[in-house]
């Protein structure tokens, strides 16, 4: 019998690689090795409804146990892949033992970027990536007196929304001059800053953290770069992520802030594919190499990797999209805002129901929508088709954008 496929990783990309390989006809054994003790689950609710209890644990798994059984996907949970020997086609596991493979898929994702500061290891200083992290956070949140969030990215803002809605005092400390500097346009960042301030969240922009202080091992305060001390009995460090590429890098696969893959999700070793947050891939859409952190990217790239494993060619060409829920706002983003030179607003910022269309040299490159999912969905189609309204048409609500898809 063939040694089959070994997938290292236990989340969206790992599950989808297995599912898509089977769908495309891959018939050899599949083994999925994850260091987490549970089957692949949703991460987005961990900074949203899971913290309030609105999203129950039973709703977290991406697929039921029967899915893995029926598709003959063996899951090895709570097992960490420690090293790869590509020549011998073996993965060694942390607990001893090793697995042979014919094909290998890496879907190792990312981990929170550490903050190398005194006090970052105090009790009450938390990160948020895994279900275990979310359980710790949830346990602390109810009793927290004052919260400091270090980092004004999506996860920090989502936690701030949840905590502020619970009536907790929250301060966000962000080193850049605005929120979400990496992820969204200055217009959306400014809009969200206003929303958070109106809910009582204090924003300290252009502000660094010098150290985190505590007593008896418990956190008590965060000291900012300018010397100001912020009281805190709960601190969330959310300053971005680091791709988990050590396993691949040590085995000699090319890595550059991400495991380098081609548009068929192949790494520099023809037997090895990779997908999800851990990869740096050529984006047909952006015309450059990108590392994306989103469910869309993990799933769509994994579909490509699965097809590749089954001997089919299905290039990864999807338009990137992402969502975030804060307070009663549904944010949906499609395309890539970076490099745009013009924008047009459709709808009303005051009523908190609008989309911003971004253009580069007159062509649509991205749309950010707030409580306007129809624009977002249309944007997915327009960008996939390479069609573009003019900025005037985008701003004019009497112009039916749907006509551009039908054309």
């Amino acid at each position: 019998m063939s040694a089959g496929l070994v997938i290292v990783g236990g989340s969206y990309a790992a599950m989808q690689i297995a599912a898509s390989a089977r769908e495309a006809g891959y018939a050899e054994p599949i083994r999925l090795v994850s260091e987490e003790p549970v089957l692949p689950y949703q991460r987005p609710p961990l900074s949203k409804g899971y913290l309030t209890g609105k999203f129950t644990p039973a709703a977290l798994p991406l697929r039921a146990e029967a899915f893995y059984r029926d598709n003959r996907i063996e899951t090895l949970l709570g097992q960490r892949a420690e090293s790869l020997d590509l020549a011998a086609r073996r993965v060694s596991l942390a607990g001893g033992g090793s697995l042979a493979f014919d094909r290998l898929a890496l879907a190792t994702g990312t981990r929170p970027r550490p903050l190398p500061l005194p006090g970052a290891d105090l009790d009450g200083v938390l990160f948020l990536r895994s279900l275990a992290d979310a359980d710790r956070l949830r346990e602390r949140l109810g009793g927290a007196g004052s919260i400091v969030v270090i980092g004004g990215g999506f996860i920090g803002l989502e936690l701030a929304s949840v905590a502020a809605a619970m009536g907790k005092p929250v301060v966000i400390v962000e080193a850049q001059e605005r929120l979400l500097a990496r992820g969204v346009s200055p217009q959306i960042a400014a809009f969200l800053a206003d929303v958070h301030r109106s809910r009582g969240v204090a924003l300290r922009l252009r502000s660094t953290v010098r150290d985190i202080r505590g007593a008896n091992g418990r956190v008590q305060s965060v000291v900012c770069g300018d010397g100001e001390t912020l009281a805190a009995d709960l601190v969330l460090i959310a300053i971005g992520v680091v791709p988990n590429t050590e396993l691949a890098g040590r085995a000699g696969l090319a890595c550059q802030d991400g495991l380098v893959v081609d548009r068929f999700a192949r790494t520099t070793d023809p037997l090895v594919v990779a997908a999800g947050d851990c990869t740096r891939h050529p984006s047909a859409f952006a015309g450059q190499l990108l590392r994306l952190e989103s469910v869309q990217n993990a799933i769509d790239q994994a579909k490509t990797a699965g097809a590749t494993l089954a001997g089919q060619e299905k290039p990864y060409e999807s338009v990137p999209w992402f969502w975030s829920d804060q307070y009663e706002l549904k944010l949906q983003m499609v395309g890539l805002v970076q490099g745009s030179d013009r924008h047009a607003v459709r709808g009303s910022l005051e009523q908190r129901r609008f989309s911003i269309f971004y253009f580069r040299s007159g062509r649509l490159v991205a749309i950010d929508s707030v409580n306007r999912a129809a624009d977002h969905m249309l944007g997915r189609k327009l960008l996939a088709l390479g069609r573009s309204p003019t900025p005037q048409q985008a701003a004019d609500e009497s112009f039916d954008l749907q006509t551009l898809v039908a054309a």
Partner: protein, 108 residues
């Protein structure tokens, strides 16, 4: 417990008990009913949990809210008058036997 009948892409049917308060989407995921992808996990952001509600149940299922109908405008398969996002339909005793047809595709 009320049941949902899922009509799969190949025309076959799966009848599954889905507890009251659980969504038609989650009923499918928890019972490994294929064809509902649910990329966003039910937060009404992805439109990959599209189903067609059988006409006999059209009047029993509460109508979509604004964010659901906005999202429905962009489903990958054909949008029909009976198109719904299954994560937004919560099971009740009155919906026992609810029959939903799964479209041929969920993503572009």
């Amino acid at each position: 417990m009320p049941a949902v009948v899922y009509v799969l892409k190949d025309g076959s049917e799966r009848r599954v008990d889905v507890p009251e308060g659980t969504s038609v989407m989650l009923g499918a995921i928890q019972n490994n009913v294929p064809g509902i992808e649910a990329e966003c996990g039910g937060c009404c952001s992805c439109a990959t949990c599209h189903v067609y509600v059988e006409p006999a149940f059209a009047d029993k299922v509460p109508p979509p809210d604004l964010s659901e109908s906005d999202l429905l405008s962009g489903v990958a398969a054909e949008r029909k008058p009976n198109s719904r996002l299954s994560c937004q339909i919560s099971m009740t005793a009155a919906l026992d036997g609810l029959t939903v047809r799964i479209p041929d595709k969920q993503s572009l």
